[in-house]
Amino acid sequence: MDTPQIDVAYIAKLAKLDLTAEETERFSADLNRILGYVAQLGEWDTTGVEPMYHPLPVFDAVRTDTAEQSLSNEAALANAPAEEDGQFRVPKVVESAH
């Protein structure tokens, strides 16, 4: 496996993390070293091996479909950084047309 240099600024944008220039530089060095190490996985032969996404087989685990008590509106909003009229308050999402 090739070890491409990670573009931390781009990945941080995908991850919604507003990094400082210093962080971007530091993480680039750290992550390129880590990616250089994990490149060794390419050396293991996994031909015909099924990926193991879960340690134990669990299939279609669903609880019985009965109504249960959920959090009250008040409890659900209790940890919100900003709320108004029983709802989460967020910045304007739709830009106005000019």
């Binding site: 990670i6 990945i11 962080e23 880590i34 996985l41 990926p51 193991m52 919100a80 999402v93």
Partner: protein, 468 residues
């Protein structure tokens, strides 16, 4: 002091020699005195614990016993901060199932044990609320990420504690602090109310002063939970039932890959001592091979970071958690809230996880890591055809010095090599201390087959007795 096992204090309580209220008062007095120095708890609520103590039902198996709870396991009405600035103002709206079950067994949840932020770290040094000291090895790290849980038990500030283990976060701090730590089989204990780090690896478990206490806590904690679709429907049992039984004839595998020259002489000596004691007890030591051991750290960090990047996307500054001020639009609110709320190691792992899941790299990293994980699990299945248990180190060395900044993140990750496999394969594992007169604590690890906790505890208990 709170040294003394759960059974010790249960006998005192049921004989009327101490009341639950007096026990909590004693715990609070010790914690008030020692926590400023050790920083095992981020917060604790003595009044709530005293209120619970006044109503404690001593007829229950853990009646009147206070238990410390890691700060990533929800306790209704108490902060659950995951040692992060991101959750500084977060108060749990409900109890984690593990906490509900502790209460149902009569225990009194006490304190929010310090940890590495979002369970990312192995030294107890990545906490927004200050690092945790190791009471059993002053000047050295307590290990992590369940640093506060281990330090509270080792420092006499808890009788026992709950932690979580994603790649060794219970077993490794237990080893560094000279106590017992157990990660049960994946799915044994509900993860409902455990703040998710890597959902296919995370498991709650006990940190205790002895093996019997670990069994007692498993009795209270295990069982299927409809609120966690990954919790197992496997039958639970009395995990104390086999304690004290002979281990003659038990086959214990010693993986040749675990006897690396990278282990410190102290760790090698601890393994040799365990082998000697187990042999004296009639166990048969068999050399086995886990050929993919060199690949586990690489596979683990890809999988764990990928799952973390997805799980931690919920912290958006909208519904709960930290929100940056004076932001310019929704995207800026997300990006700045997350940048200001998360610490460096959390950001590093989110970026690694986002990268390995991103278009063009998914197959090379994430899918490849999950295939290697299957090979690691197959190694264990092959070994368990020949042996009943596997013996090995917990960590290559004793606890490193505090404030050692010479280690790169990669070097720190590599020290998880012996604990990660149990998480990748979903196996139960336990760390038990070895005698170290005047030297740093060293634990040794026993791994068992899926759902073989009762037998694993039997062997661990026999070894514990032989070592003491």
């Amino acid at each position: 002091m709170l040294y003394g096992s759960i059974s010790h204090w249960r006998k005192q309580l049921t004989a009327g020699q101490i009341t639950p209220t007096e026990l909590v008062q004693e715990l609070a007095r010790i914690t008030d005195a020692k926590n400023p120095g050790i920083n095992a708890y981020i917060s604790y609520n003595t009044d709530a614990a005293l209120a619970a103590a006044a109503k404690a039902d001593l007829s229950q198996p853990l009646g009147g016993i206070p238990i410390a709870v890691k700060d990533n396991i929800c306790m209704q009405g108490e902060p659950t901060r995951c040692a992060s600035k991101m959750l500084h103002n977060f108060v749990s709206p409900y109890d984690a199932t593990a906490v509900t079950k502790l209460k149902a067994a009569g225990a009194i949840p006490f304190g929010r044990a310090n940890m590495d932020e979002f369970a990312m770290g192995s030294a107890g040094q990545n906490s927004a609320y200050g690092h945790t000291e190791n009471p059993a090895a002053p000047g050295h790290v307590p290990g992590g990420s369940s640093s506060g849980s281990a330090a509270a038990v080792a420092g006499g500030m808890a009788i026992a504690a709950l932690g979580s283990d994603t790649g060794g976060s219970i077993r490794q701090p237990a080893s560094h602090c000279g106590i017992v730590g157990m990660k049960p089989t994946y799915g044994r204990i509900s993860r409902y109310g455990l703040v998710a780090f890597a959902s296919s690896l995370d498991q709650i478990g006990p940190l205790t002063q002895n093996v019997e206490d670990a069994a007692l806590l498993l009795n209270a904690l295990c069982g299927h939970d409809a609120k966690d679709s990954t919790s197992s429907t496997h039958a639970t049992e009395d995990f104390t039932a086999k304690l004290g039984q002979s281990i003659a004839g038990v086959r214990i595998g010693l993986p040749k890959e675990y006897l690396s020259s990278g282990n410190s002489p102290q760790v090698t000596a601890a393994i040799n001592l365990a082998v000697q004691k187990l042999t004296e007890l009639g166990a048969e030591i068999v050399e086995v091979s886990l050929p993919h051991s060199e690949a586990v750290v690489a596979a683990y960090y890809i999988i764990a970071c990928a799952e973390a990047s997805s799980n931690l996307s919920r912290f958006d500054g909208i519904r709960y958690g930290y929100r940056a001020e004076n932001t310019n639009g929704l995207d800026d609110l997300y990006s700045r809230s997350r940048a200001e709320g998360f610490g460096a190691e959390v950001k590093r792992r989110i970026i690694l996880g986002t990268y390995v899941l991103s278009s063009g790299f998914y197959d090379a990293y994430y899918a490849k890591a999950q295939k290697v994980r299957a090979l690691v699990a197959q190694d264990f299945a092959n070994a368990f055809d020949k042996v009943d248990f596997i013996l090995g180190p917990v960590a290559p060395t004793a606890a490193p010095l505090l404030h050692d900044t010479n280690m790169s993140p990669l070097q720190v990750y590599l020290a998880d090599i012996y604990t990660i496999p149990a998480n990748l394969a979903g196996l139960p594992g336990i760390s038990i201390p070895t005698p170290q007169e005047g030297a740093l604590p060293i634990g040794i690890q026993l791994l068992g087959k899926h759902f073989a906790e009762a037998d694993l505890l039997r062997v661990a208990s026999a070894l514990e007795n032989a070592l003491s």
